[in-house]
């Protein structure tokens, strides 16, 4: 069973899955790093991105518009959510924040179920990316290859925003010490709103670009949320490079284990997380200074 083509294919699967997890986890981790709020509605936002994109696709037939609609809609949801709800929870205990975001997640999922039902919806990939690509040593779905590229571009864009712009600098400063940023006369609340929007957008974008691979249903974000948390813990809470590294590690662990026995892929993932927590309690690239 374990031969060269299988091994390489599984490495590829791990890469694609890992890149996707990295993107979703980076959204979660910058929100937590900056605002100190663990957003349990992040999986629901991944789902919302898929549905907003699917709706746009049904009306326009354009995949590009679907991606734009999915990302922007979820960004808007994130901004509104921060303004209306999350803002009032910064001073409240962590368990309140967990409960309110968890509750919002349920509301999002069940609202979608109410309007669109539980039957899954498919968004086809753009015509140019349909089919299988021969890579010499193996065949691989063309869209999955493209997905890898799309997600890498998105991660680079996120990196540039965080590390090469003034806003990004403020955000990173906020992750390290938001009280100090506030003291420097910067409107922290505006930054918080923006960070929440960007973090949500990362989930929404991932939701729609993943829709041609895994057709969407109201519960699609549930299992993704769990994996994303593991990624964040492995990489280091609040660390963007950590999220990317954690995502890739998680993707490869799941894929390579499944070559031997798929039943153990998630066991191995949690084993890895436990090891990281024991050896480096703040994650691979996390630091003790972060909350």
């Amino acid at each position: 069973m374990i031969n060269w083509p299988t091994f390489v294919s599984q490495l590829f699967n791990g890469l694609v899955l890992g890149a996707l997890l990295a993107l979703i986890a980076s959204g979660l981790t910058i929100i937590y790093g900056t605002l100190g709020v663990l957003n349990l509605a992040h999986g629901a936002m991944f789902m919302l991105g898929g549905y907003a994109g699917w709706l746009a696709y049904s009306y326009t037939g354009s995949f590009l518009i679907a991606v734009l609609a999915g990302s922007l809609f979820v960004m808007l949801v994130g901004v509104v959510m921060e303004l209306v709800v999350i803002r009032h929870f910064y001073q409240r205990p962590h368990e309140d924040q967990l409960l309110v975001t968890f509750g919002l997640g349920i509301v999002f999922v069940e609202t979608v179920r109410f309007f669109f039902g539980s039957l899954s919806k498919a968004v086809p990939p753009p015509p140019a990316l349909v089919g299988i690509t021969p890579l010499g040593f193996m065949f691989y779905p063309t869209y999955r290859l493209a997905l890898l590229g799309i997600v890498v571009v998105a991660l680079i864009a996120l990196y540039l925003v965080l590390y090469r712009t003034r806003i990004g600098m403020i955000v990173r400063a906020g992750i390290e010490d938001s009280a100090m940023v506030d003291a420097l006369g910067i409107d922290v609340y505006k930054i918080f709103m923006l960070v929440f929007g960007i973090g949500a957008m990362a989930a929404g974008f991932a939701g729609i670009v993943n829709a041609p691979v895994v057709s969407i249903a109201p519960d699609v974000g549930e299992s993704i949320l769990v994996q994303t948390f593991v990624v964040v813990v492995i990489g280091g809470v609040g660390s963007f490079p950590g999220a990317v590294l954690g995502g890739l590690i998680a993707g490869e662990i799941i894929s390579i284990t499944s070559m031997f026995n798929p039943g153990y892929s998630y066991v191995m993932l949690f084993v890895a997380m436990t090891l990281v927590l024991v050896l480096r309690p703040y994650g691979l690239l996390g630091t003790a200074a972060r909350e």
Partner: protein, 450 residues
């Protein structure tokens, strides 16, 4: 959605219940209740007679309305709701199956309570426990996963409350996990395998290579074993790989990669619900379909609708019911018409199974003329033949499995569909009795009546 909204009708407070339970253990149980005509000679058991002392009786379904089996759960729920409506209104279809039912059961209206199980055994058991405590339910149903069915089986036996399964395909449900208080209407791994096996061998010949996809719980393991046993023993088919995935898997790429490199000619997909939809769609992405021939040994309601008929065209599947059986069985026609009128789509087999389970229960209660659970169980165990939507059927007393035909269907190509729900054509209706193992082959031991 808020799935507990119809759970308010409490006839007895928790304290009163505790008091009564204490009294029961002291051996004074029957003295505390107003005796009914049929209750005089019977000791209290489960929720009897408290559950039948009012004008209405409560029955409860714990059914997945979220998660991997949500789509199939909603369809089942509609079947149960229609059956309850028919029991309370003495609908002609229901009276064909249960002639003695008159505007409810033994003079009482039937009230259905519903909770979302998300196909999780723990959740389903907790919900039913609450329905027992708060609503004195006299019948439980619900399962779209055999893991839930098996858990509720044992729970039913412990609590002495009747349980009729929802969808449950595992051999264990009426095999090693069978109980006195539970009954199954639908087909299962062994009968599915013995019905579809000969069709596959006739169609595709001997000595073929098959890759299996199996969900990692009792349903998946027993169905895969039954199908593989049939094909390997009778026709020399070889299982080249068996990819076992957890319930609720979204990305099947790892499993499909293993299958793509396995040299299989057939993809026998035992996955169910959304798992089946996703694994089939992704098998197409990986080019495994149409290169390999897809086989679905245990039909999934709405599969063709979700994947699109292009992917199910030519696919053989074993199932419990398909709506075009209305051409063959008058009761099927009545059922499909009534269901379509109420819900505006043609029922899948989950809805049919749900309807039949309640209709059969109503028959047994009304024939036994008693709500005393052992009386009802003994009525089932008489094994009388009665009409159903797939012709005459009867229960096997030794394991509480209904002896009923298995339906073999083949997916239609889009161009052959006569309407937008005409996804499958019935190839064969295989009589049930020869498909079944001997009653003790899977280790069934029913247990006590009281």
């Amino acid at each position: 959605m808020a799935s507990r909204k119809d759970t308010f009708h409490t006839s007895l407070s928790r304290r009163a219940l505790l008091r009564q339970t204490a009294a029961l253990t002291a051996g004074l149980g029957t003295l505390r209740f107003t005796p009914h005509a049929w209750a005089v000679d019977h000791p209290a058991i489960g929720t009897y007679p408290a559950g039948t002392s009012g004008d209405a009786v409560n029955i409860a379904a714990s059914v997945p309305r979220t998660g991997t089996y949500a789509v199939q759960g909603e369809d089942e729920l509609k079947g149960w709701q229609l059956a309850v409506e028919h029991i309370n209104s003495s609908d002609p279809l229901l009276q064909k199956i249960a002639p003695k039912v008159k505007n409810g059961l033994l003079g009482k209206k039937v009230n259905l309570l519903v909770a979302d199980s998300a196909a999780k055994p723990n959740q389903a058991v907790q919900e039913q426990q609450r329905f027992i405590n708060e609503n004195k339910i006299i019948l439980m149903t619900g399962s779209t996963s055999s893991a839930v069915a098996v858990a509720l089986n044992h729970f039913a036996q412990r609590e002495k409350i009747l349980y009729v399964t929802g969808i449950s395909g595992s051999n264990d449900t009426t095999g090693k996990d069978c109980v006195r208080y539970s009954f199954r209407q639908n087909f299962y791994g062994e009968t599915a395998a013995n019905a579809i096996g000969p069709v596959l061998v006739k169609q595709f010949g001997k000595n073929r290579k098959a890759a299996f996809m199996t969900p990692d719980y009792t349903y998946g393991h027993t169905v895969t074993k039954s199908v593989n046993d049939y094909l390997s023993k009778n026709a020399g088919w070889q299982m080249v790989t068996n990819q076992v995935s957890p319930l609720g898997t979204q990305d099947f790429s790892q499993y499909l990669t293993n299958i793509a490199n396995s040299g299989a000619e057939f993809l026998v997909n035992v996955n169910w619900g959304r798992d089946a939809v996703l694994s089939i769609q992704q098998a197409k992405q990986f080019g495994i379909l149409p290169k390999m021939t897809l086989v679905v040994p245990y039909q999934i309601p709405f599969l063709a609708k979700e994947t699109g008929p292009e992917l199910t065209a030519g696919v053989y599947a074993a199932t419990d019911f398909w709506w075009t059986l209305e051409d063959k069985y008058p009761l099927a026609k009545m059922f499909v018409d009534a269901f379509y009128k109420k819900y505006n789509y043609r029922p899948e087999w989950g809805a049919n199974n749900a309807y039949m389970q309640f209709a059969i229960w109503a028959r047994m209660v009304s024939e036994a003329n008693s709500f005393f659970p052992p009386d009802i169980i003994k009525q089932y165990e008489k094994g009388e033949t009665f009409p159903s939507t797939v012709g005459d059927v009867h229960f096997r007393p030794q394991d509480h499995q209904l002896i009923r035909p298995v339906v073999i269907v083949r997916g239609k190509a889009p161009k052959d569909m006569k309407n937008n729900e005409d996804y499958w054509e019935v190839v064969e209706v295989v009589p049930g009795e020869p498909l079944m193992q001997t009653p003790d082959a899977f280790g069934c031991n029913l247990g006590e009546y009281t």
